[in-house]
Amino acid sequence: MENQEQLFTISIYTENNIGLLNRISAIFQRRHVNIESINGSASEIEEVSKWTILVNMTEENMKKIIGQIEKQVEVIKAYYHSDEETIYQESCLFKIKSDLLFEEPQIQNIIKESNARIVTVNKEFFVLEKSGRRSEVDLLYRELSAHGILQFNRSGRIAVTKEPMEISKMLEALNS
């Protein structure tokens, strides 16, 4: 199992500093590992950033890379999890010609069935938002692309873990 490639969701808590993304991505680059998706944002802790990175690799290498990430001075803590250990979602936006909404009865069904949300509508176009698993987003994309998509954009994976990550406690100890 350790030597079989699988998807891992990496969660990295860091200081909010310039250049840190470069330092983290370099660790993947030097081992010739492709990053499937990456998301950076504020975390649940004030002034602490969280990076969520999706990679495909063996668990053995995952452990080594986590060690090398944690070694970076401004990384507070890094974790890796399998899909089963996390609740994860992606988000996406579709921009579609407004005409289709009225001329193609199929479109309304697709929207209803997919639980997508209409964000805005005007004379020229409407924008559809969908959050969910990769497969759900992919399905919606396939269905809509048959009718024509003006623009499409998808976020990287965002995730929370089922088990608690002890980062807040750790920081309390560090700050005291």
């Binding site: 860091t14 250049g19 470069n22 370099a26 080594k64 060690g67 070694k71 507070i76 560090l174």
Partner: protein, 579 residues
Amino acid sequence: MIMKEHALINSPTSSIVTEKISGAEAIIKCFLAEGVDTAFGYPGGAIMPLYDKLYGYQKELKHVLTRHEQGATHAAQGYARISNKVGVCIATSGPGATNLITGLADAMIDSTPMVCITGQVASHLLGTDAFQETDIIGISTPVTKWNAQVTKAADIPKVLAKAFYIAQSGRPGPVLIDITKDAQFEEFDFAYEKCKSIRSYVPVPDTDLQTVKDAALLINNAQKPMIIWGQGVVLSEAEKELQSVIEKAGIPSAWTILGASAIPTSHSLNVGMVGMHGNYAPNLLTNECDVLIAIGMRFDDRVTGDLSRYAKQAKVIHFEIDPSEVNKNVKADIAVLGDARNTLELLLPYLEQREHPKWLARFKELYEVEVDKVIREDMEPSVDGLTMAEVIQQINVHSKSEAAIVSDVGQHQMIACRYASYNQTRSNITSGGLGTMGFALPAAIGAQVGAPDRDVVAVIGDGGYQMTIQELGTIFQTKVPVKIVVLNNEFLGMVRQWQQLFFDKRYASTEMTNPDFIKIAEGYHIKAKQVTDRKDLAGAVEEMMKSDEAYFLEVRVQKEGNVFPMIPTGASVSEVRLQ
């Protein structure tokens, strides 16, 4: 006039008092507060405000002008390696900054504490492709332990305090701080406080006492234990603790190239060097020992050879400060995290007094095989041509094994490390992990500056010498009394050896047509001598060691001498070749 503001910085305790000074002067005051006495560097446009202020601090802070920024980095490394202090270097933006990269990479992989200051174009020009602008933060990220750009003078004290703390704490490494020219000019209220911790940074992991006890139990029950120590022992200043452990538990102990000299060469339990060109016995017996105790070393591929056939029979105990090194290459049965000095001190009382005479005899026996097959011919050749080993032996004799040997990279380096005898620690300065040709000459300058009372001998091949030969100018100008020995075989010897052994003797681009090295040295007014004949060697080395100024000795050695033993790439340590 210039000296009037200096009273405040002499004692670190006065650091809370503020005064209005420029960012450039603040850099110097930070240096002084950190105990820096020497900086190696090269001026240029974007760093001129700092150099202007350095002019007023010549008494407090020595500046060594190298002939190339790469030379400044290696000099700072040599300084750090011999003195256990942070090496400091200064360069300008653009090409000055990019010229630091090799030295940074070398310091990164060899865990050398170093702080580099680079000038940067003024902050309003950042990102505009300004003259001599380069993204040195982006470029240096993978080869620094930490780096940061400063665009405001007020940030200088805090960032530099962090830089010095990070460079020398935990597993040391190089730090680069890029400071824009306007930040160097800008005036602000200076106050300095040393950095004592960073919340996201754990320099030394906690040691779990249970792992120490488990390690002791395994060692006490071992029949054929073997230690391999590395530079971690030197960096932690754990030489005494290591020697006590070795002696109490009676363990034959070998070293990696960067661990050399931590325990005297003559110690009865010192069984030599491991690795590609290490000694026969410790390489072979790595695959026979029952407990392998790795201390402050990282199982580099040049040490282990084929990992799938490395010490598979042994239980492995790994004493290590950097958790990411544990299980990286070799799985540890027991990992003892922490600073080697501390963990070895903890270990000692749990160890039982032991001797392993039969096991130690195996090392002696195999050493005799190596003497027969390799060492005798290296030391007392049956042919006319001089060998590199003879030269090292003469340096041992005439320095009474007290010299610090700074070696470059290649055959001569392996020979120097195999045959140098060391009485004191921090006597082996070489580029281990990166294998940087051109390292030795500038590193020797830095080492001599860092330890003015020691004999420093640079041992260099004719190839590497010419990579940084311009630093002879630094020696001439600063009068550092380094001894330079060039072992000239008119080949890039190590590559030639591989071509001979693995590439069908196709000597592609390894033969060197060399200049008159004596004339070059004399051009810099450095005393110089060439030896081509065995009968002149001892006298020349003696004269060199007695010289109280810089001395250049060129020794013409056998053109096609080879270094053995050798573990070919991809082979197991058991397959170490003697010829």
